[in-house]
Symmetry: C2
Subunit: 616 residues, 2 copies
């Protein structure tokens, strides 16, 4: 049996299996799988270098299905290489408890990232390829199967732009141009020349092929692998539902399983169920040029108590100190001089990557680096992470570990006005699966928390502040995730003032003023917003009769106030008297002090709220 016979047989089997599993499940996207079956058959037989027994092998190629809805095809490939059995494919697909979910997730060891939100797999792959070329120095190749519809997402163009900027010849996107989206024809349909013009204008090499011509596919993938400094985009003209003539290229069949009888006819016409087993070439066994050393001796910066230092400045100093750990990488969104991430660049330019103003790619690169095992930090203004919220959400589903550092949070930024103020970041990031949120109020805690987040799993978000405020803690104070600090307390506190970041300083000032009027106020630094130190809040309730003032530089919904309320919802405490001071109404320009005051979160408002509560 020659190579092409094998490929042809494999393509038929992938089609049959894609139909079988989706028809059995009663849902899924078989037609979107059928269009790409020839592409993936050629890739699997002749191009993908992967040791299926050792998915963790450093030099394995990567294969990312950016069109995650073609999961029947991906899972059929897994069956063809023998890592899942026929029963798992056919009986478990899309069922409760199964690994073979509707869209791929890394619950499967051969899947790098969760996909299904279109236009994300390719950006993630850019991060993977970047690691391969600049950090690992390994010859693995990163292959991505994209849909044509998803090229309407701007994120795809952010990805191709960065792929060409970084000369990622080790990256190939294969676009399955099957002309039909979910509800009808795509914008460009089969106009492959227009696709090619866009791809080339963005600095990548475009190869136009017939996506059902096995020889043409083979040549294109060979050429792609040989590329040196240009990423390749294979533009494959394909037919949706190819292999099932009665519905080929027909609208109305997106995301629909074939009815059993149609499936049976199709399977039989395709040659029936087969058990072809494919062994792909294993890659050379090579190790990454970088070996993680989490125990490397890090000398963190130290500050004097009382010294005025912005937490973003402290972050910059801390991340620069962490550069001695070879696995730490920093990705910037063209604001490194504001977030102070560029302090890392100064000491370690080789592990600092500039994504320019492209926050979706900023997160995707970080995800790709995390897939390759790096401890990657992304930083930009806190508010601009909102541009990549869907990417952060999907990173949560991928269960990768990424570190996000957002500066310039809240009205405290002052004159630039509301477009630059993160006021909904705590609400949105808190809701992401697996997120951890840290919010230091001074340089000492910012330094410690930066170090802590390097060793914390999940979507770890650090919120930093623009202005300089006094250092509160000594340099050896520790800040575990989930903890809090009680800065003022007596057994007779009448009220507890709870803040984080800039508002903690307002709480401290308020407590001093309250003391002058004879009101004893506890002050809690809630530096860990998620998880939250529930026990300490309950203790504060016990002491104060549940009289709490929570103050945050954030809109009232979903932030620190909500986090406190959620933690206490079913706690056995006195009825809450919680005054929530947050930014109500749309802020404007002004000085930081003016804006804190106008928003009602400055010390005088805290004093007034505490006095009202204490008077009860």
């Amino acid at each position: 049996m020659n190579q092409f016979d094998r490929v042809r047989q494999l393509a038929a089997q992938l089609r049959v299996d894609s139909i079988r599993c989706s028809t059995r499940a009663g849902s899924g996207h078989p037609t979107s799988s059928l269009s790409a079956a020839d592409l993936m058959a050629v890739l699997l037989v002749g191009h993908l270098r992967y040791d299926w027994d050792q998915p963790e092998q450093a030099n394995n190629d990567h294969l990312i299905f950016s069109k995650g809805h073609a999961s029947p095809l991906l899972y059929s490939m897994f069956r063809a290489v023998g890592v899942i059995g026929d029963a798992e494919l056919v009986d478990s697909y899309r069922r409760l408890g199964a690994r073979l979910q509707g869209h791929p997730t890394p619950v499967l060891p051969w899947v790098d990232v969760a996909t299904g939100s279109l236009g994300q797999g390719l950006p993630d792959a850019v991060g993977v390829a970047l690691a391969g070329k600049y950090l690992d120095h390994l010859p693995f190749h990163t292959w991505v199967l994209c849909g044509d519809s998803e090229t309407a997402e701007g994120s795809v163009w952010e990805a191709l732009d960065k792929a060409s900027f970084y000369k990622l010849g080790n990256l190939t996107a294969i676009i399955d141009v099957n002309r039909l989206g979910q509800r009808g024809p795509t914008e460009l349909e089969w106009d492959l020349r227009r696709y090619a013009a866009r791809v080339e204008a963005f600095g990548c090499r475009a190869l136009i092929i017939d996506g059902h011509d096995l020889d043409a596919i083979d040549q294109a993938l060979t050429e792609a692998r040989l590329a040196t400094d240009k990423p390749t985009v294979v533009l494959a003209r394909t037919i949706k539902a190819k292999g099932v003539p009665e519905i080929e290229d027909k609208n109305g069949w997106h995301g629909k399983a074939l009815p059993p009888e149609m499936a049976e006819r199709a399977i039989s016409a395709l040659g029936g169920v087969t058990d072809l087993l494919i062994s792909t070439d294993a890659p050379q066994r090579l190790a990454s040029a970088i070996t993680a050393d989490p125990t490397a001796h890090v000398t963190l910066p130290r500050y004097e108590v009382g010294e005025k230092v912005a937490t973003r400045v402290a972050f910059g100093a801390a991340i620069a100190a962490l550069a001695v750990r070879p696995e730490i990488v920093v990705v910037d969104g063209e604001v490194g001089n504001s977030t102070h991430a560029d302090e890392f660049q100064k000491v370690c330019p080789d592990r600092y990557f500039e994504m320019f103003i492209a926050e979706q790619q900023l997160i995707a690169t970080t995800v790709g680096l995390a897939v390759r095992g790096y401890v990657a930090f992304a930083s930009t203004f806190a508010v601009f992470f909102s541009r990549a919220f869907d990417f952060i959400r999907m990173a949560g589903i991928s269960q990768v570990n990424i570190r996000l550092v957002g500066s310039h949070a809240g009205v405290e930024i002052g004159e630039d006005g509301p477009s630059q103020m993160a006021l909904e970041d705590l609400a949105s990031v808190r809701a992401v699966h697996g997120s951890v949120i840290l919010y230091p109020s001074d340089a000492a805690s910012a330094v410690r928390l930066t170090a802590v987040m390097a060793d914390t799993a999940g979507i770890v978000y650090l919120r930093t502040t623009r202005g300089a405020y006094p250092v509160i803690y000594g340099p050896d104070e520790e800040f575990p995730v989930g903890g809090s600090k009680t800065l003022r307390s007596t057994p007779k506190d009448q009220v507890a003032l709870i803040g984080a970041g800039v508002t903690l300083h307002e709480c401290l000032a308020a407590a001093d003023q309250l003391a002058n009027t004879g009101i004893s106020a506890r002050v809690i630094d809630l530096y860990s917003i998620k998880p939250l130190d529930r026990e300490n809040l309950i203790e504060a309730c016990r002491v104060t009769g549940s009289r709490l003032v929570v103050v945050e530089d954030h809109y009232p919904e979903g932030g620190i106030g909500s986090a406190v309320l959620e933690a206490l919802a079913d706690a056995d405490v006195h009825a809450l008297h919680l005054t929530h001071l947050a930014v109500r109404g749309l802020p404007t320009s002004g000085t930081p002090a003016e804006l804190l005051d106008v928003a009602g979160i400055s010390s005088r408002h805290i004093v007034a709220a505490a006095e009202r509560l204490a008077g009860r």
Copy 2:
């Protein structure tokens, strides 16, 4: 004085004024203003048709500063046309309470949308131009000033793609290619040919000019206005800080006011302070082809109580019924057959716009339509609004009225898995300034709420469900924003079950089961998540001793549970015993019923929670 002398004088004045206001404020982006001063001087004198006394005039051109940080230039233009005075410009810029904020917002009557988050002004402008061409049928032109750095945002390419797809010859983007971003050179620096290749590949006409050659600018803008079916992108090679030789084209001067002495030198070299007053051509006084008719007779669909209908289906029927109102427009994200927005297309194809899979542009188009006075609905899967979260946030700052309809919320969607499940949408959208969130549980309320949202101001979000559930309400029941419905109640209720959407049906089933075991449970339909019916919740607390079960198909953070807790935080009620049932952990594939149960939000979990609370 000939035309070019005037332009040259105006350009000098714009530069002088940009320097003056930012130096006086001590912050701002003068250098990014100086690079574009010649471009804007030519536009103002010879091309912009605008009646400054009547900003609401329908046929006025639009001018959007996508590079919002160049606000000194924009405000200097406003002074040059006489709508703001010198004192306001120089003394109020960036100060508390001023209209002239750090980045422009529509607090100013000549500003359409808030900008400052880069890569949004151009997408918004696409919506404005789309309205002009397809709805208003007016010859106004939409001009956008873009920065070069922001072309790294994928959203810019989504915008140009849609601009060319819809043949928006009435749109011109002027890109101020000044080569320097915030922290250094841009990706493409002054390689205008590569910019042009990208622009042309995306179907627009590229005109490369020297952005300081007044004649070249004039020719380009003339040509741009004459365009018929292709949007124009003027690629202007400029020099950052042009006009202040000591810092021209120098890195390190982004976002910095000139120190007073340097400012004085520069102003003097530029000819000093002048008071040139420009009168722009007023447009022809023409009315839009569409006149809003909010009183048009709408016959809403009616359903029988008990009939099983998905809320997304009811939305489709309702939006189709609303098509008799000529101001209603629907924008789709390539899923209209799933969200059922395409029911509108069937009856009113002329006011239905397809954005394909480009959610950022989906929102931006909706914002642009709203700027033109249309009642625009955007719809996609609820989860994919997360892709455009920054656009939704900025729409909140723009204080425009847009309607978002998100289908397929929560684990209830079933087999497709977590990538398609909106589980953080309530948290994120709740935190947006001016948002209103409605969440119908049945077809009758979905219909009514669709009609209500057409007449509700703000960022109004309707969350719909995939599956079909029984109609609960009669067709004449009303659902005001901020209300709730108490579906089961006695004066002796021991516990209140609070749900919305799919979980309301689970609450009703639980209440029936609890009744069998002798526990009287109140059931509340919290169809208005923001604003919330606080009074009814307080009443439920009074009756039940604050024993509440809140159940939602959403992650635990920031959703309905938090909204309830926030509302009750300082209410004078018995200590809360609130059990919050929400989706904890990462969901998988499965049937809707299985997933609701695994997530702990099905009726049996509600029963168990209520029994525990009632047993206290």
